[in-house]
Symmetry: C2
Subunit: 157 residues, 2 copies
Amino acid sequence: MSPRSGADLALLLLGGYRNLVDEVVRELAARGFPDARPAHEYAMRAIQAGADNASELGRRLAVTKQAAAKTIAALVDRGYVTTVESPVDARRKQIQLTEHGLALMREGAAIFDEVRARWEERLGADELARLETQLTRLVGDSPIDVNAPGWAAQGTS
Amino acid sequence: MSPRSGADLALLLLGGYRNLVDEVVRELAARGFPDARPAHEYAMRAIQAGADNASELGRRLAVTKQAAAKTIAALVDRGYVTTVESPVDARRKQIQLTEHGLALMREGAAIFDEVRARWEERLGADELARLETQLTRLVGDSPIDVNAPGWAAQGTS
DNA sequence: AAGCATTCGTCAACCAGGTTGTCTTTGTCA
DNA sequence: TGACAAAGACAACCTGGTTGACGAATGCTT
């Protein structure tokens, strides 16, 4: 039993991610956010955590500023984000979550946590915590750095 | 300490997958397969496991037959796969790995296993095995079904 | 044997989320 | 003041998918 090849491990990680994210997107659609995409969640988390322009957002998500600008355009389109001119730097276009954007974040976090709770039931709290700890040890050097002060304070309940 | 929100868990899974796959692609490039993409690995695993035409490949990878056909075209382009007319069904185009394709699979499996070995060093064999077991319990119902008789017999050493 | 439904592959158009490269505008600093 | 760095925008392109429409081959039923 058990996979135990490196390639299988990759498939497990990807599968876990997909299971989780697919469900969140599906649920978000059912709860009034039919146009939310996975990438939006992450971008908005980074914005909430302090990325207030395209270049900075790109840095935090480890993508180019052009890619970040496209994502921002999509978010503005959908009404999750607005841009305002920076009073201090005429080059900058500051971005902010709208009320609608904040509502999406609250709902998204709630769904993520519901899925996590189901996983906790399946594995037991200890085992899930252990799994997260070990994953953190493996992934500590990930380039995706969305978690900065600001996010945690938001509350995910 | 520790993340412990559902969204953080998603990021961990994605981060782990990316770390692993990025390294494999980078190493494959260094070892003579500069044109190998992550999707190729999975498609070729499915082919090796018995998917011998575009429609079947699509089913196993949980994508449309059109997407599978594009992947096959890319693999043929790169010399990893060849197609032959089916003797029994004139509609079918059978696909097979070439020698070059088999070489890629061997090298890819070896690299995956090297990374896994490094993770094992970092976590300890027990902890990594435990992590894989728990992930398997969470992901058992993944739609990606690449593992069928045929692959395991190939040997990944 | 005929007729119909299914399956296989393919074409075309499109989308999401990225990339590189080039450019203008604006800011900073020596 | 002049050189350089940084922000945003534009264009072209790539990968890996999607839908929809289709003809040709096959299989199933009557």
